[in-house]
Symmetry: D2
Subunit: 411 residues, 4 copies
């Protein structure tokens, strides 16, 4: 087992440094040009991730809590503010790929400048500021995952299909096995969190929900099963699909998961690789996940069903991100790791949700429209950042994340 | 009180005829040209509503259950199928305004043909067929409401601003009053329906939900209150808005509810009319409803909160559609009538939802994506078609329906 | 032969009345709904043509020269101004199909009002005003052609494919014949016009041009020849096409002339009809005309080549519009009539072109960008309105006019 | 005077090497990331220009004439074919910015590989092949200009506004002077070329044209004059504009030439610089050039008028590209250099134009639609590549080239 998993840094400063270091390691295989390309408006250049995560600390912590902090560059907040209306004007999201300057090395220098200021400030910070450091760490961990999915999208857009890194050394040969259905609890249970330890705003508060009798599959849907869905005309049968999904299939000419070739391969962070029939299918949209579930006569789990059952599983386990490299889903696995699990739940506020004060209040609350919840963690999720209560979310057509399918059914 | 409300037809045949007659009455003020125009893809021409509601009976009942039924015209199913993949090819939704032929009178003849066949067949129909008649009645009632909102959109698109009908004769002068907050039940309650009497598929099954402590306003948000929201910069303050909503405001240049003029008027079915400050605001999107609620520090009710409280109110009461004419929201009012109530709930399947077999199974289930639930009934909803469990739904930007706002808050 | 052709009205008033009457006759077969539909932004509703041609007389003549003229309706200039910036605000071009009101009968009443005022004013008008009457007549003749092509587009957009009128009674059976090449003049010749009799601004002034040695085909390209082009892969061979044309073919999925069915038929003003292999091909774009010409190793004539040769042909002859009915190209024919001839010339000002003063100056001059010249006259061109110097023009992708192909080549 | 201008390389091989070297020099100030960004579909990444110009030699010369030539990389022809249908499939034009790989250094290695092969092959090439070398040189010179205009567009898209190079050392302070009108020849003259020395296909053949009496301004329109146009409401007065131009102004919100700031500055290859009121205005579209000309009561010259008068001026003179650096228009100047001159002529074939055989035939002919001719040369045109007969062309809205205005008028 990996060192980070067993001997995770315990102090805030250590965790901060470990997180900042991992981001630097993720960027190591990239050229300045690689780090500049934006393959689509949803995906940001690697360079931008490096700088934006530093801007976050600079803006919400250093500028607010460190009186003599000097901006690295007066013009950069405009470049690296993502979507915080309260933090000023910003570069349009779909123009992030115009930033050949600053260079990747300048972005690294920005990181060093911010790291130094953070290290100097850390000993004297009060609890509010330390909470923002914690938020910044978790924010950066989210961007580490986006870094990997966005660089995958970047290389997939290049006909040369470059590999980001070598394939992971060991891929267990799992024989494949039938799904077993695990009955969940029913009645009133609690989800969300109210613990003092870190959680994003949208995970709070812990609250009661009512579960109907249900069961959840003990493993993910696999590539092999998805190939059967395709062979059975899954993408050509309107009856399986939500109306919006069917329109999307027609408009975009969708016939398989994203990155699948016509030759039994898939484009991955390790370049084009043969599909492993026993590995979890990934890079499918909510529309596809829902259609697959209808095809087999099942459904997607609700967020609450998933979260209640996942509470008995180890959020630090499974195939998650430990160090830089070409991550990819593997056969086997558990509730956490490999791929995110699409749910049938819309991303809406938990009962009693309160948006935090100030610009940081824009973190999640304003996105509670038009998105579906994914739960768990993927092979690109930094180990240690997962919790059952974590709520990630994407529009139902999004596919560039490591999103997969775990089925559920009524009992 | 209106005759229909007190002495509603009791037999299936009587109700069928009353419904079919009301549709004909709704079309009475229109010219052939009025009935042909399609002002936007979401809204259908009046003529199309007349024919489509007949196609529904023809397709799902007469063709299936009446052996010697002859189609009115072999080519019309292509024209008047709305979205049923299982019922064959169809005219693209955004091309319905191309149908100068058939004429309005031919559409009326189609109705007579279908009515005659239905009347002849009715005595011998089995229960399954009678259920489809019931569905057809309710389906047509939904289209009566769309008929009115779509003709409003049609006339609003004409710079001459024609009136559909004279303004309703009496508009009560309500002095306006403060909102009172009515505490709802909390704990496990039941919503949805499992009764034998008619309900749409998506209202089923009746099931338990858990309500958090909450209160709901005893009246709708009014035009006068909305004017305050505008005056306070509501449409210019990003902090009130969902991210998608703020983007929509900017992209579409939204500064007021749909149909509002700059001179304290609104375009209505009775032409341009002064805004009544005490009448419920209407023609607002979910984005606007949500922003308004944040502005006052409240929120929208959830579907379950609304439905549980509405169960104690008369679904046949209030300002609903009794006969053809220029309906509009009025001051005062109750849970049913005047305007639909935007909720904070996405339109997703009730636990245990089962899509019916056959093409009719496409009725609601396939739209359970990207839409928000509205509850209640509006001034354009045919009286008698409302139930607490009714779930109507629209995308969050839609405004051409009589949609309004009733606030809620945590307790 | 037709009366109009032989005994054309000679006085201005007689010609005005004959023109106004013909427009009324063209509208005779239409319902109010037919006259309301706008099938695409380029095509206007029939009702709009009726009213716009009256607006033209009202705006540029009656309001300017008749002191006590009273507008038919104060709000209508907004509705029926086409594109004259100098004549005030106007309804967006793509929203003309929203005008279910005024009704077709009200549009007719508008015409009567204007006609009456014109008749009363005519005896006392000075030369400037009489010139505007002349312009208004010619303007209305242009709209008569558009009326027919736009109603064809309207009925083509309806899956029921209504016929505007019965097919013309006699269609000569022409055996078809080989093309003969007629050598044109070369050297310095004159085109354009400076005569006192009516011409549009853009036809002036008469000026010298230099012609290279060339020949022009003595007949149009036929449907039969176009079928060979298709059979030879004409629409699938990029080498035949202009770059923009090839992109258009791909984007729009073009595989045949507009209105062609897959069964050797074409949709016409007389409904769906078998293609006559010997009739001139029509409803082809400039891109298609150019590609066809390259396929046969020829080219399109320049405007000057065409005009100089056409000067020897009768502009009142051939298959042109004499009275309301279902016009269509016929086998045989001459330089004028049947179909307009695409040229290889861009629509640019003649040397010495002067834009007239006032709003009427917007008539043609501002469209001298992005358009190609067509010459001659079609089966929908009112007989008597043709001149060799007439320059009509359309964007290179436009197909809804009766546009055809006459080949040319260098000598 | 510059060495290249006076002692231009005379042998084909020398000129090839000088051209290839200049391209390398142009790329020298760029990082790999700078060379990767594509700011808009019309503009290509610098890296792509480097590789495409090599692909041109590889494809049309080395693969055709050098039997044992080995492709640098089998996959690159797909990446670097621009638009030659006859040369196989290619990367979509608007995805050229996805090529972080190959790196700029790999693109340089490609150039070296091709250069070596060309040098080895040159001594034995026949005349056809040498003609293709000549074409390749001229092709690359065109791309040198695009290189500079595209990198300007790239840096302009970056809020940091990087400078490509230092401003040119000397900018003559010209006092500004009144326009003098130079009368051109009228009657039949000859334009185009039939000489044996190199010319692009579209410049051929030399042919007679007829010129009307006219005069051409002896200098370009200046920035100072353009500021007067703006101050006089030029961009707000529809009467000055072509209809398409006015729509473009409204749609794009155009209020000044491209790259102009609101503070009397302009973004240039040397970064943001104050506008020189006496320098030629540049980065204006044909629409703007035409509107300006109408504003002053003049017009644009025709291609033939310009070409005939330019025949008396030195095509190697003026402010053209001699070596890498931040070129920009300067006060003063002549028919060649500083800015291209928009004409009033559409880009159509010269009489007798013959498209060359083979894929190279796609060079210019297929673009003869929807574009306007510009004549002369700009500050970014490699000195020595200009001829009076050169016909460059752009759509009427294009502004990213160094395009300017020289007025003409009838006499």
């Amino acid at each position: 087992m990996n060192r980070q998993a067993t001997l995770a840094p315990v102090s805030l400063g250590e965790r901060l440094r470990a997180t900042r270091d991992l981001t630097m390691a993720l960027a190591e295989p990239l050229s300045d040009a690689d780090a500049t390309v934006q393959p689509m408006p949803d995906a940001s250049p690697a360079k931008w991730h490096l700088a934006h995560t530093s801007w976050f600390f600079e803006t919400f912590l250093l500028r607010e809590f460190v009186p003599d902090y000097r901006l690295f560059d007066e013009r950069w907040p405009f470049l690296f503010n993502s979507y915080y209306e309260g933090a000023g004007e910003r570069l349009a999201r779909d123009r992030r790929g115009m930033l050949s300057r600053p260079s990747l090395d300048e972005a690294r220098a920005y990181r060093a400048h911010v790291d130094q200021a953070l290290a100097a400030a850390l000993p004297d910070l009060d609890d509010d500021a330390r909470d923002l450091i914690e938020l910044g760490i978790n924010h950066e961990q989210q961007h580490q995952e986006l870094f990997l999915t966005d660089i995958l999208a970047t290389f997939a857009a290049n006909p040369l299909e470059p590999a980001y890194a070598a394939a992971p050394p060991t891929r267990t040969a799992d024989p494949g096995r039938d799904v077993a259905w695990v009955e969940g609890r029913s009645g009133v249970v609690e989800i969300g969190t109210s613990e003092e330890s870190f959680a994003f705003d949208c995970e709070r508060p812990r609250h009661q929900v009512l579960l109907q009798p249900h069961a959840i599959a003990d493993r993910f849907v696999t590539n092999g099963e998805w190939q059967q869905f395709i062979a059975d005309g899954g993408y050509r049968t309107p009856g399986h699909w939500l109306s919006d999904g069917w329109a999307w299939v027609g408009r975009e000419g969708i016939t398989a998961p994203l990155y699948w070739g016509e030759d039994g391969t898939s484009f991955t962070l390790a370049g084009r690789q043969p599909l492993d029939p026993n590995a979890p299918v990934t890079h499918v949209s909510h529309y596809e996940a829902d259609a697959f579930a209808r095809w087999v006569g099942a459904r997607l789990p609700t967020e609450a069903e998933w979260e209640d059952m996942a509470a008995g599983h180890d959020p630090r386990g499974g195939n998650q991100l430990d160090h830089a490299g070409a991550v990819m889903p593997r056969p086997g696995g558990d509730f956490f790791g490999d791929v995110w699990c699409w749910t049938g739940s819309a991303f809406l506020p938990h009962p009693g949700f309160r948006q935090p004060e100030g610009p940081v209040g824009e973190y999640n609350g304003k996105f509670m429209s038009g998105q579906m919840v994914v739960k768990g963690a993927s092979c690109a999720t930094p180990r240690g950042s997962s919790r059952p209560s974590v709520r990630s979310f994407f529009p139902p057509h999004a596919r560039w994340q490591f999103t997969g399918v775990r089925l559920a059914r009524d009992c």
